[in-house]
Symmetry: C2
Subunit: 244 residues, 2 copies
């Protein structure tokens, strides 16, 4: 028996999130199903992070114990042949027996994509949020730093365990403009609260559209008031990396 | 009554092609349905080109006659509100009463997207063909010119009318490498045979993988032998422009 570590990429559109749930199509459920077709009889795989319904990933990490007689490369190919088209393994490695994708992670990186257009764009909206009126790019870049550092993000997300802490340390917030005009927000933190990235994006877009003020956002960050209601849609978000 | 000209963009994944068919979800069918909800009672809209099942578009053109009391801008917004998420109108203009999107077109432009990766990539494969083994980029660029000019493309596609001509004039063939490593093939011709672009792409990829020879391709082009069997998948293809 050996422990394997995999990186999963998926199009979240067809999944009710990453974590296994009865009667729902989830990434974990599909992954375990494909493992079982190869003879795996474990109870469940370990996942690094929970992504919501509709959220994508290029860097989700999972681990499982498996007795496999062939090479890791063959296991990767066999699993990818079993998995449905909207999920794939991009890397598979042997890990130490005590590796835990969630507890061993020191930080997570998410990327949020958006573009500004007045009319719908069916070929871009599957993976990016269409925003209109347009945003002030300088405002996006200037305000991103507000969230850096250790703060109580209670206004930006719910704790991941009942009554758990809402303090998180954000180590990167960067907006990049792509050649095709798309904006990408990269954010890294030790861990995230539920829906925290989507609230951070919504707040920054509101600022960059002139609909909110920096003072209001700083107040939410310092006073830990009630959860902010605005939420960027899930389909613009992807978990891109789990760092160990 | 006035004639309107629209540009349609759609994600072809959920459509059985562009042309209306009984009992199938098609772009034309959805477009006519949305027009009817606004009171349109025409028999059918006119479309510039027929795209196959799974083929996308950013520049499909359609036209229809309609009595509409408000501005073109309002009609565009009203139609986009009715259309499903995978199809949208990106432009709507008044046209002359005899404008015909198909017969008036002087040329069409298609774009085919592909990328080279050994493993599946769910977030890119909806709109691009994953090719492996990798292609020689120089070969792609060097061989594209073979198809330029007026040729009998009988080996590359079926005529669009029974026993119709298979002679077409190709006016542009260009491979571009994108910053993320994706290859895009832009091809323009007066008109295309059925599945001609997908055969042109397949043949060029075979050449760039060292699986075929320029002589064989030139032979197919000069001798008009039977239809070539290789076909690049539909999901990498998009109709990008109809030129008038």
């Amino acid at each position: 028996m050996a422990r394997y570590q995999v990186i999963l990429a998926y199009d979240g559109s067809g999944f009710t999130g990453s974590q296994r749930q009865a009667n729902s199509r989830t990434v974990q459920g599909e992954f375990e199903k494909s493992l079982r077709t190869l003879g795996w009889s474990g109870k469940s795989v370990l996942m690094a992070g929970r992504t919501d319904t509709g959220v994508h990933a290029t860097g989700q990490v999972a681990a499982f114990d498996f007795e496999w007689a062939h090479s890791a490369e063959k296991l990767l190919k066999a699993l990818n042949a079993k998995l449905p088209p909207d999920v794939a393994i991009t890397s598979l490695l042997l890990a130490s027996a005590d590796f835990h994708p969630r507890f061993d992670a020191v930080s997570r990186t998410y990327c949020y994509r958006l573009f500004c257009e007045p009319t719908r764009d069916p070929l871009r909206e599957r993976y990016a949020w269409r925003v209109w009126p347009s945003v002030d790019g300088n405002a996006l870049k200037q305000n991103a730093g507000i969230f850096l550092g250790t703060h109580d993000f209670a206004a930006f997300g719910s704790p991941t365990t009942p009554k758990g802490t809402t303090v998180r340390t954000v180590t990167k917030t960067e907006w990049r403009k792509m050649p095709d005009g798309e904006w990408q927000f990269e954010v890294q933190a030790d861990a995230f609260l539920y829906r925290m990235v989507r609230r951070l994006v919504f707040v920054q877009v509101s600022l960059a559209q002139g609909k909110s003020s920096v003072e209001k956002v700083q107040h939410a960050l310092l006073k830990q008031g009630k959860l902010l209601s605005g939420l960027a849609p899930s389909h613009g978000l992807a978990l891109t990396k789990v760092n160990y």
